[in-house]
């Protein structure tokens, strides 16, 4: 389902159906997903649409740029060690009109469960998109339409053992890659003394030949914000 399609187009896979056709100067868009429908009319000369995975923090409403992944099992790391694990993350599918310039976002939908959580205290914490994942040492089985695979490289720079039960990421740093079989991300978690950590993303796929997806959360050139996230409310 991911990729670029010429208009008119009609796609159907499982619980998802998307159609886009032209009536004179107007593009008629219709989408259904798990009983939820979206209809739009566009005055555009676009000739293609892109269906790609996007940052999984925008549905049902983009109220936060943070993604919280809760591990099913606690991870223990010995002092000054590294670990490579694989976790899943929710996939959100974005539909973009592709003309001459920058792709224009039309619609987003997901088959994954939508849930939010609070990381930290109500006064100082962050609202995050919530996801629960088991931890794996090799790439696990997945359903590409609603689950992606994240390779997480954890570095324990502390001189003590560290327990990790969750990871929080900033969508402004997310780099998603996809092919017809998989959606992936590669991230780093640097554990720091005092139960804190810094998370960031690498701009490379977890296997060769995957395409980079369109980014909806992009940092402005003049901005003090970065795509990193400092986990200061516990691990």
């Amino acid at each position: 389902m991911f990729g670029s399609y010429n208009i008119p187009v009609e796609l159907r896979e499982g619980e998802i159906s998307v159609s886009l056709h032209r009536e004179q100067d107007v593009l008629i868009y219709h989408r259904e997903c798990l009983g939820d429908a979206c209809d739009k009319r566009m005055f555009s000369k676009a000739e293609k649409i892109l269906m790609v995975p996007t940052e999984p923090v925008t549905l049902p409403k983009a109220i936060t740029p943070y993604l919280f992944i809760k591990f099913d099992k606690t991870l223990l790391l010995e002092p000054e060690s590294t670990a490579r694990i694989y976790v899943t993350f929710p996939v959100e599918i974005g539909v973009f009109a592709s003309g001459g310039g920058k792709p224009q976002f039309i619609d987003g939908f997901t088959l994954a469960q939508k849930k939010f959580t609070l990381y930290g205290e109500p006064s100082t914490g962050k609202i995050c998109r919530y996801w629960n994942s088991d931890i794996h040492t090799t790439i696990p089985e997945w359903d590409r339409l609603w689950e992606g695979i994240m390779e997480l490289n954890i570095q324990n720079t502390d001189t003590d053992w560290v327990e990790v039960k969750k990871a929080v990421f900033n969508a402004y740093g997310i780099k998603i890659f996809y092919d017809q079989g998989m959606v992936s991300m590669k991230s780093i978690m640097k554990l720091r003394p005092g139960d804190t950590a810094e998370t960031s993303f690498e701009s490379s796929p977890i296997k060769a030949g995957m395409k980079k997806s369109v980014e909806r959360y992009t940092l402005k050139k003049i901005s003090v914000a970065t795509g990193k996230f400092v986990m200061e409310h516990g691990l």
Binding site: P60, F116, L118, P122, G125
Partner: protein, 287 residues
Amino acid sequence: MIHNKVIYGNVTVLDLAMALIILIVSIGVAKGLVLYTRRLLKEKVDKGQLEIFAKVLYYVIIVTAVLVALPFLGVKPSGLLVAGGVVGLAIGFASQSIIGNLISGIFLIIERPIKMGQSVNIEGTVGIVEDIRIMSTTLRTFEGLFVRIPNQKVFTTNITNYVANVARRVDYTIGIPYTAEAENAISLIKKLIEAEPFALKNPEPVVYVDNLGDNSVNLLVRFWAPVSEWFSIKTKMLWRMKKALEEEGIEIPFPQRVLWFANELKGSVKADPESVVGKEAEAENLS
């Protein structure tokens, strides 16, 4: 020449014109700069901070312009400082509340217990902060009214800021009949909370039997929601819970009272013979 005509002291028409030009130009420059700054920093700086910065910039330019214009009107700013001691004392007594509001406004801007766009309750007035000015704060109430509150009152009274924190708790008390299984009702409510995206996973929602009321077993339901979604979730979830409980055959009980009589009531109810005959006749006609 008219421009050399003395108006008072050494101040000529030209001096007066210069002072006016300086003031008018500086007001224009200040407004232009504020507008340009707002456009430039609109997406980079928080709206509240941007407004404060714009105001400070505006007043700094105006005060500087006044200080530059004063010598043209025969007033030396250094002389003002000397005279200011005596005059200031007199003005201070005369305008205590004005000065109080001004100082409170400055402290409000520094301490920032409220920001523009936030929902607050200031001494019983509930609304959205529209503006925090030097002398007063303005609110737009949820009924759409404009309310101006002097800064001294804002600063010295209790303020409840509904959106200062990122999450807020939703509380319900739901009564179920004594005949219903409380475990079933609790499990049903927990499933509804789990299915709602904006009912936060953490802090963990709690649902438990809180007390045994006069007419019902009262369940306490508590869960957290992002502050931006709090009101819509609070209104939506209660109705969902009511409908789901009813679908499971758990009615929300009405207040009721069981009466026990000390002496057994002796009496019987007899049917009215005429109405019985009437109904039999109707039945015959229909058949």
